[in-house]
Amino acid sequence: MMQWQAFCSEKQIRELKPLFGELQKVLEGLETELMDFQIPGRPEMEDGLKRLIGAGGKRLRPSLAWVCYRLGEEQKLPVLPLMCMLELMHTASLVHDDIVDNAALRRNVPTIHSQTNRRTAAESGDFLLGKAMEYLKIYRGTGINEILADVSAQMCRGEFSQMRNLYQTAGQNVETYLMQCRQKTAYLIAASCYCGAAAGGLEQAQKEALRAYGEGIGIAFQLKDDLLDFTADAEFGKKRGQDLRNGIFTLPVLYAFSKNPDPRMIQLAESREKTESDLEQLLTYVKDANGIEYTLERINAVTSEAISRLAVLPDGMPKQALIRIAEALDRRKV
């Protein structure tokens, strides 16, 4: 689970302890609910899913939904089913993305398709979607189901966009990339905030502010994740240069190409057969073109903007927690 304490001063920890303590208990309930399934006849599927869910993850989306829910004074709808839906949708998308990316590890445990086959992994994700559907009835008529259905389409659009542009620099730039970040990542985080606020009975302007906050930190989260491709760190289960090797051009790369277009580097990036030396040259080129600094600046800017959107919300622990969460994501180790 997310270690908020690591990013707070001692005074802040003391101040926010009651809220995070409450969240911790809710997340334990979420964990129990998420693990409560059996798939008779498919032990490999059940084991794979329980291994992945049990491996943790940050539970960022349900946590945000809960904190936004806590901002409300009239909490008429239950929030735990929403938290389950968000985490199940997210986990299903991870299982499916791992097939698309042919990833070997997720949350430092072997991916489902690497332990079974792609078809089984696809169906494992489908099982989670079936489980997520169990909760839809609770939010009938609230607009929450419509938002989640829209977001799932957006996530597919983002993945399609990435897949269509693999190994191609033409037609990709900073703005198209940021749109892809919104679709792949930020819209679900924004929906987590918005739907949590809706379940908590917040006013429309407050829900919109939280949606904008979520979108901002979602973009920052994706950009930070992309930066990890430039820094070797086993802690994140990501090998340096993997995105570049796989023809995925993230913000630091696209910025470098726009600022210092070098035909040789573009050709190297677009090549499907890259040697270690090619990768090193590309990583150095991106670094020299200030691609990393530029991305860090964008992360800081979107995070600040996201925090500023919270101004319309009442002061108190939940608002402070949202600020700390944004700062915690911004400070993730790069």
Partner: protein
């Protein structure tokens, strides 16, 4: 409001067709079996005939067709991982959209149970006749 909804639906159908055509081009290149348009039409027809009132006929047909494509595409995951998985997921989102206007708890639960049940069948082809029977039976039992 109805006009807005119809406009959004038309836009979504255009997008779905476009994505499906794109995927189809890829799997033709790879010499993979295409999804028979007659089968899609049969799914829709079965759904339309199964409903007792015509109010939800189109939404039910959209939902049933999108669900069929979602399952069928994911059955190609071994042969064409990226396209099959992403296109399948896209049709799941179309399916979710189509369920919303019908606004029927029992229908959502039936599809949820059906999905959790069919994934238990190891590496078998999606059973079209079984699915058509499910479409008919569900509409009948919940008086759609």
């Amino acid at each position: 409001m109805e006009a807005v909804r119809n406009g959004q639906n038309a836009e979504r159908i255009r997008e779905a067709d476009e994505i499906f055509r794109e995927a189809e081009a890829v799997w033709c290149e790879e010499d993979l079996p295409v999804i028979d348009r007659d089968v899609r039409a049969r799914v829709r027809e079965t759904a339309c005939q199964a409903v007792q009132t015509q109010v939800f006929a189109k939404d039910y047909a959209d939902a049933c067709e999108a669900f069929y494509l979602f399952r069928k595409l994911h059955s190609f995951a071994d042969q064409m991982p990226a396209w099959a998985v992403l296109t399948g997921d896209y049709f799941f989102s179309r399916f979710s959209h189509a369920l919303i206007p019908i606004d029927n708890v029992e229908l959502i639960d039936r599809f949820s149970d059906y999905l959790k049940e069919v994934v238990k069948m190891i590496n078998t082809e999606p059973d079209l006749e079984g699915y058509l029977a499910f479409i008919r039976q569900t509409a009948l039992e919940i008086s759609l």
